[in-house]
C-alpha cells in the first residue's frame, strides 16, 4: 500500500491549502471575538487591553436587549411552524406513490437556491399593496419560506434511511392511520425534526436580508441592529453581541451534528 500513498509534495500542498482555508474561514470570526474583549472605544486590530466592559454595556442596553427579545420571539415561532409544515411535507415526499414527487420536491426545496432577497421584496410589496404595510408577521412568513426547506431536507435524510416495511407492518397489524403516524412514522422522523428545528432557529435568528426589506415599524431584530451599527460607527459593543451570536450558531451546528451528523446535510 505504501507505494500508492500520495507523494510528500502532495501532502505539503494539502497541508498548506487546509491551513490557508482555515485562516480565511475563521479569521473574520476570530477578530470579532477578539475585538469584543477590547478596552478601547474604537475598533482597531490588534485590540487594546482586555475587559468585559462591552459585555456589561450590551447586557444593560435597552436597545440590544429588546432586539434580542424580538429575534428570539420570531425565531421560536418560525421554528415551531417550520417543523409543523416541513415534517408532513417530507413524509409525503418520501412515499413512492405520491403523485408528481420529483416536481414537488424541486418546488419545495427551491427557496434554498433562489435569491432570499426576492422573497423579502415580494413580501414587502404584497403586504403594502394588500395588507396596508409590513408587520412582524410578514417577517415570520418570510423566514418560514427559507426555513421549511431545511426541515424537509433533514427529515427526508432521516426517512431515506428508515425502514419502509415498518409502516406497512403497522398497517397490516391493524393500526389505524392516526396510530400509525403517532407511533411509527413520527418517531422515525424525530432526529430529522430536531436537526431541522436547529437549522430553522439559526436561520431565522441570523437573517438580515428578509428583515431589511420587510421592515415593520417598531420591529428591530438583532441582525438589523448590528447592520445599522455597521453602517455608521461600529464600536466593540457590536463585537460583543456578535460573539454571543457566534456562540449560539456554534452550539446549533454541534446540535445538528449530534442529531443527524453534519455530513448528511451536504
Amino acid at each position: 500500500m505504501t507505494g500508492l500513498a500520495p507523494p510528500a509534495s502532495a501532502h505539503l500542498m494539502a497541508g498548506a491549502l487546509v491551513i490557508f482555508t482555515a485562516f480565511v474561514m475563521l479569521v473574520p470570526l476570530g477578530v470579532v471575538i477578539a475585538s469584543s474583549f477590547s478596552e478601547s472605544q474604537f475598533l482597531v486590530f490588534p485590540p487594546q487591553g482586555f475587559s468585559f466592559r462591552w459585555y456589561r454595556e450590551i447586557l444593560s442596553s435597552e436597545a440590544y436587549l429588546s432586539a434580542a427579545w424580538t429575534s428570539l420571539k420570531i425565531a421560536v415561532i418560525v421554528t415551531t411552524f417550520s417543523v409543523l409544515v416541513g415534517t408532513p411535507t417530507a413524509i409525503a415526499l418520501a412515499k413512492s406513490d405520491t403523485p408528481g414527487r420529483a416536481t414537488l420536491s424541486g418546488l419545495f426545496l427551491s427557496p434554498l437556491v433562489l435569491p432570499t432577497l426576492i422573497f423579502g421584496i415580494g413580501l414587502l410589496m404584497t403586504m403594502s399593496i394588500w395588507l396596508g404595510g409590513a408587520s412582524i408577521w410578514g417577517l415570520i412568513v418570510g423566514h418560514l419560506v427559507i426555513c421549511v426547506p431545511y426541515v424537509i431536507r433533514t427529515v427526508s435524510a432521516v426517512l431515506s434511511r428508515a425502514d419502509p416495511l415498518l409502516e406497512e407492518a403497522a398497517r397490516t397489524m391493524g393500526a389505524n392511520v392516526w396510530k400509525k403516524y403517532l407511533h411509527v412514522v413520527l418517531p422515525q422522523c424525530r432526529t430529522g425534526m430536531a436537526a431541522g428545528a436547529f437549522f430553522a432557529f439559526n436561520i431565522s435568528f441570523d437573517d438580515a436580508v428578509i428583515a431589511l426589506f420587510v421592515r415593520a415599524p417598531g420591529v428591530e431584530t438583532l441582525p438589523i441592529r448590528i447592520y445599522g451599527q455597521l453602517e455608521f460607527s461600529p464600536d466593540p459593543s457590536v463585537a460583543a453581541v456578535s460573539t454571543l451570536m457566534i456562540l449560539v450558531s456554534l452550539a446549533l451546528v454541534l446540535l445538528v451534528d449530534q442529531a443527524i451528523g453534519l455530513d448528511r446535510m451536504t
Binding site: L4, P6, A10, A14, L17, V18, F20, T21, V24, M25, L26, P28, L29, V31, V32, L43, F45, P46, G86, P88, T89, A92, K95, T98, P99, A102, L107, F108, S110, V113, L114, P115, L117, I118, F119, I121, G122, L123, M125, T126, V141, L144, V148, D206, A208, V209, L212, F213, P223, I226, Y227, L230, P234, S242, M245, L250, L252, V253, L262, D263
Partner: protein
C-alpha cells in the same frame, strides 16, 4: 387486486393530506409574492387610478449606463468569485475525501461554521480585517504596503475575498458529494497500473468530478449574483451591485416598479443557472 388498489388509494389520500400545509406556505409566502413582483414590474398606474401594461421599467434599466455598469459589475464579481471558490474548493473536497474522519470533520466544521453565522457578523469580521487600521493593514505594513494599497475596503478585491468565505461550502460540499460517489477503486487501479499520483488526479479524478464542479459553480454563481449584505457593506456606495441597486430603488428613490423590474431580471438570471443545476443534481443522484 382490489385490496391493493384500495391500499394504494388510501396512501395517496394520506400524501395529499400531508402536503396541504406545505403547499399553503408555498402559495402564500412564495408564489404570491413572486407573482406580485412580476405584475408590479410590467404595470404602470395612470393618474385616474387605472393601470396599463408597460415595459418602461425594464427600458429604464437597459438605457441607463449606470445600471448597465451595475449589472456588469455584478456578473464580473460573480464570475471571479466562482473561479476562486472552484480553485480552493475542488482540492479541498478531494482532501476531505481522503482525510482521516477526524480531520475531515474539522475541515467540514470550519467550512460550515461561517455559513451558519449571520451574514452581518461575517461581514463585520471582514470590515475589521480589511479596513483602515485592520488586521491586514497591520500585517502588511512591515512589508512596505501602507496607506490605500493596504486597505481592501471599498474595493472589488475585498468583496471577492469576503464572498468566497461565504460561498466556499457550497462548492466543497457539492464536489465532495460527487467524489464520494466515484469511490477510491478507480484511483487505486490507476496507481497499481503504474500511473503517478498527479497523473491519476488529472486523468481519472478530475474528469469524473466535472459534474460536481459544474453544479457547484452554477450554485455559487447564482448565489453571488443576488448577494446583498456583504457587497454593500464591504463595497460601499461606490461599488453598487444589482441587489444594492434594488434596495436603493425601494428605500431610497421609492421607485417600486423599477425595483420589481430589476428583481425580475435578477430572478431570471438565477433561474437560467438553477435549472441546469437542478438537472445535473437529479441525474447525478
Amino acid at each position: 387486486m382490489a385490496a391493493i388498489d384500495s391500499v394504494r388509494a388510501q396512501t395517496r389520500q394520506e400524501s395529499l393530506f400531508l402536503l396541504v400545509p406545505g403547499v399553503l406556505v408555498l402559495l402564500i409566502a412564495f408564489l404570491f409574492p413572486v407573482g406580485t413582483i412580476l405584475i408590479t414590474s410590467v404595470v404602470d398606474w395612470t393618474e385616474d387610478g387605472v393601470f396599463v401594461l408597460t415595459t418602461s421599467h425594464f427600458e429604464k434599466f437597459f438605457v441607463d449606463d449606470y445600471y448597465l455598469k451595475v449589472a456588469w459589475r455584478t456578473l464580473r464579481l460573480a464570475l471571479v468569485i466562482t473561479l476562486a471558490t472552484a480553485i480552493f474548493g475542488v482540492p479541498l473536497a478531494y482532501i476531505m475525501q481522503r482525510a482521516h474522519p477526524t480531520l475531515r470533520f474539522i475541515i467540514l466544521l470550519m467550512v460550515i461554521l461561517p455559513l451558519m453565522t449571520s451574514v452581518v457578523i461575517r461581514t463585520f469580521g471582514w470590515l475589521v480585517v480589511l479596513g483602515n487600521g485592520g488586521l491586514l493593514a497591520t500585517l502588511v505594513a512591515p512589508l512596505g504596503f501602507t496607506g490605500r494599497s493596504a486597505v481592501l475596503m471599498h474595493t472589488e478585491a475585498g468583496i471577492v475575498i469576503a464572498m468566497v468565505q461565504v460561498l466556499l461550502p457550497f462548492m466543497v460540499l457539492t464536489v465532495l458529494g460527487v467524489l464520494q460517489g466515484i469511490g477510491r477503486e478507480l484511483e487505486e487501479a490507476g496507481r497499481t497500473m503504474g500511473a503517478g499520483f498527479w497523473q491519476v488526479l488529472r486523468v481519472i479524478v478530475l474528469p469524473l468530478a466535472v459534474p460536481g464542479i459544474v453544479s457547484g459553480s452554477l450554485i455559487v454563481f447564482a448565489l453571488s449574483l443576488s448577494s446583498f449584505i456583504t457587497p454593500s457593506l464591504v463595497g460601499g456606495v461606490r461599488l453598487p451591485v444589482m441587489a444594492g441597486s434594488i434596495y436603493q430603488s425601494i428605500g431610497g428613490s421609492f421607485d417600486w416598479p423599477f425595483a420589481a423590474a430589476q428583481s425580475v431580471l435578477l430572478l431570471a438570471a438565477t433561474l437560467l443557472l438553477i435549472i441546469p443545476y437542478a438537472r445535473l443534481v437529479r441525474t447525478s443522484q
